[in-house]
């Protein structure tokens, strides 16, 4: 699973990265934002790139979207090299960069229509596509509203609508829901799922693991610029050493739980990551002692904790920081 290229047939891949590395020079100090990353991202799927801030997600996306040159390695999009054939790659891609904001003096209709015109669409085609996407993403009622007057969620949805209205086969969405409330996030999720119906390839970066799990067909976990694990959420769950999580509140001390698996403190009790027999045994023992207990498969968040050794929202030590954004 960690050798990403071997797990997916590169022949059916929209994006293939081989040994892709990026080193930034910050003053006298080189910072490795990406190190020897191999990935094959299948066509027509939503692919989630997950990791903490500074893990190298944005650097990877920016290289794939021809916005940043790699230091070494190769990366192709639909068979075209992003360095040598960048202009050909650009014919088939669209991107919503991290922290991008729409032009505040445009209304929603102009934002989408003018983006399509800038991509080279003719007026009739741009108008049809604009009307269709506004309708599909329920933005018709705000089409004449200035984007500066929209909520954060609506703005991001307008940005996603803009790239989905294009004819791009590969769409890059870098942290599309960062900073949004749960309701607004779900609005953007609906827009992203629409891309899948069109059989487009979507490369999505996020540090919200629930988002990656909810949207992605496959995910890759980056940490410190290196690929840690890759696969479908269920494959990743199956591949982890301790695939079950038991939460126990009351009735047990930490030393009593340690024989069952790996123990972490949690909300006044403990989380125990364990194999199936040990997890069942612990759950039964906890019930016998009258403790509050829950048992289930690990989430991506738990997997992150197991693989990286700390929660996704906890910063890495500075020497492991990947530069150049997430």
């Amino acid at each position: 699973m960690s050798a990403a290229l071997s797990s997916t047939d590169p022949g059916g891949a929209a994006i293939v990265a081989r040994g892709i590395s990026k080193r930034y020079q910050v003053g006298r100090h080189p910072i490795d934002a990406l190190t020897e990353v191999d990935l094959a991202i299948p066509k027509g799927k939503i692919y989630g790139l997950i990791g903490r801030n500074g893990a190298g997600k944005t650097t990877f996306v920016r290289i794939a979207a021809t916005q940043l040159l790699p230091t070494s390695g190769s990366l192709t999009v639909l068979g075209q090299d992003v360095v040598k054939d960048a202009s050909r790659v650009r014919l088939s891609i669209a991107s919503v960069p991290q922290e991008s904001r729409p032009l505040y003096f445009l209304n929603v209709d102009e934002l989408i229509f003018l983006y399509l015109m800038m991509r080279g669409s003719d007026r009739v085609d741009a108008r049809q596509r604009t009307n269709a996407i506004l309708d599909e993403l329920s933005l018709t009622s705000v089409r004449k509203r200035l984007v500066s007057h929209l909520s954060g969620g609506m703005r991001r949805r307008a940005m996603v609508a803009m790239v989905l209205a294009s004819d791009a086969e590969v769409v890059f969405l870098d942290e599309p829901t960062t900073g949004l409330d749960p309701f607004a996030r779900r609005e953007v999720w609906a827009a992203i799922r629409r891309a899948k119906r069109d059989r487009r390839t979507v490369l999505l970066t996020t540090h919200y693991l629930d988002e990656a799990e909810a949207l992605s067909d496959r995910v890759a976990l980056l940490e410190g610029g290196r690929l840690k694990i890759e696969g479908s959420p269920s494959e990743i769950r199956e591949s982890v050493r301790l695939p079950y999580r038991v939460t126990v509140q009351g009735g047990f001390s930490r030393p009593e739980l340690e024989p069952y698996g790996e123990v972490s403190p949690f909300d006044g009790g403990f989380i125990v990551f364990a194999r199936e027999p040990a997890a069942r045994e612990l759950a039964l023992a906890a019930l016998g002692r009258g403790a509050r207990v829950s048992l289930g498969p690990v989430s991506l968040e738990d997997i992150f904790l197991q693989i990286v050794g700390r929660p996704i929202d906890q910063d890495a030590p500075s020497e492991e920081e990947g530069g150049g954004g997430g």
């Binding site: 920016r62 979207a65 021809t66 916005q67 940043l68 040159l69 960048a86 202009s87 650009r90 014919l91 891609i93 669209a94 991107s95 919503v96 960069p97 991290q98 922290e99 991008s100 904001r101 729409p102 032009l103 003096f105 445009l106 102009e110 003018l114 015109m117 800038m118 991509r119 080279g120 669409s121 003719d122 007026r123 200035l146 294009s166 791009a168 890059f172």
Partner: protein
């Protein structure tokens, strides 16, 4: 991208950044005209009206240079704050079309300012087709080199606030210090050659000649045209080679 697509992209950019802001933010137009009109007012009052026509010529040059500084500010803002450049890099739009489109939009946006100076010119100076034939290309060359300079600088700044400082310095270096609003003969002879380090000096020379204020010899005119075209080619070449579309 085929030519028809390029033209659509160019016009869409010009509309987006030129026409739409004019409609939604009309007050910004006053901002664009503020500097050229302030200098015009100051020079005219200080010279008791004697330098009005010189200042009108200078105002046209300054309006065109302002396009470059506005372009620099807009592009820096779009690149760093809105990430518009990244968004457009990942699309079929090509860098030269992006620059030309934004430059054209700035030209469109400054039309009211140019129109105002044109009215002042018509009211205060004789107008002929020959004058127009000379003035329009001069102004277009100033627009072109100022846009090239603006784009190159915009791609290098890491912080939008730096562009504000540089915009002021560039305006100062290209329009306030050199003899744009006043004749070169007003400078002490020892420093007059220094004025010719700025391309706007040559543009202002040609403008004053076209306005009939300071007739130039054929050789001087040819020199001014040559230098102005040379500056424009050099600045646009630097812009095309040194500016960054994709980050490194």
């Amino acid at each position: 991208m085929i030519e028809r697509h390029r033209m659509r992209s160019l016009l869409a950019l010009a509309y987006m950044n030129g026409i739409v802001p004019m409609r939604t933010q009309p007050l910004y137009l006053l901002g664009v005209m503020a500097s050229p009109l302030s200098f015009l007012f100051f020079i005219t009052v200080a010279s008791h009206g004697l330098l009005l026509r010189t200042a009108v010529a200078g105002g046209m040059v300054l309006t065109m240079v302002s396009i470059g500084t506005s372009l620099q500010s807009d592009m820096s803002h779009y690149r760093q704050d809105l990430k518009l450049q990244d968004l457009l890099v990942a699309s079929p739009l090509e860098a030269p079309i992006y620059v030309a489109g934004i430059a054209l939009s700035e030209l469109v946006y400054s039309i009211p300012g140019i129109a105002l100076f044109a009215v002042l010119w018509v009211v205060n100076a004789p107008v002929s087709l020959v004058t127009l034939v000379e003035v329009v290309p001069v102004l277009l060359l100033v627009w072109a080199f100022a846009s090239g300079l603006g784009f190159t600088l915009a791609t290098y700044f890491a912080d939008v606030r730096e562009t504000f400082i540089f915009s002021t310095l560039i305006s100062l270096a290209l329009t306030v210090v050199p003899p744009v609003y006043y004749p070169v003969s007003f400078l002490p002879p020892a420093i007059q050659p220094l004025a010719y380090l700025s391309p706007t000096t040559f543009a202002a020379d040609l403008m004053r000649n076209a306005f009939g204020l300071e007739p130039l010899s054929v050789l001087a005119r040819a020199t001014d045209w040559g230098v102005l075209i040379g500056f424009t080619i050099v600045l646009l070449t630097i812009a095309s080679f040194k500016s960054r579309w994709r980050d490194v």
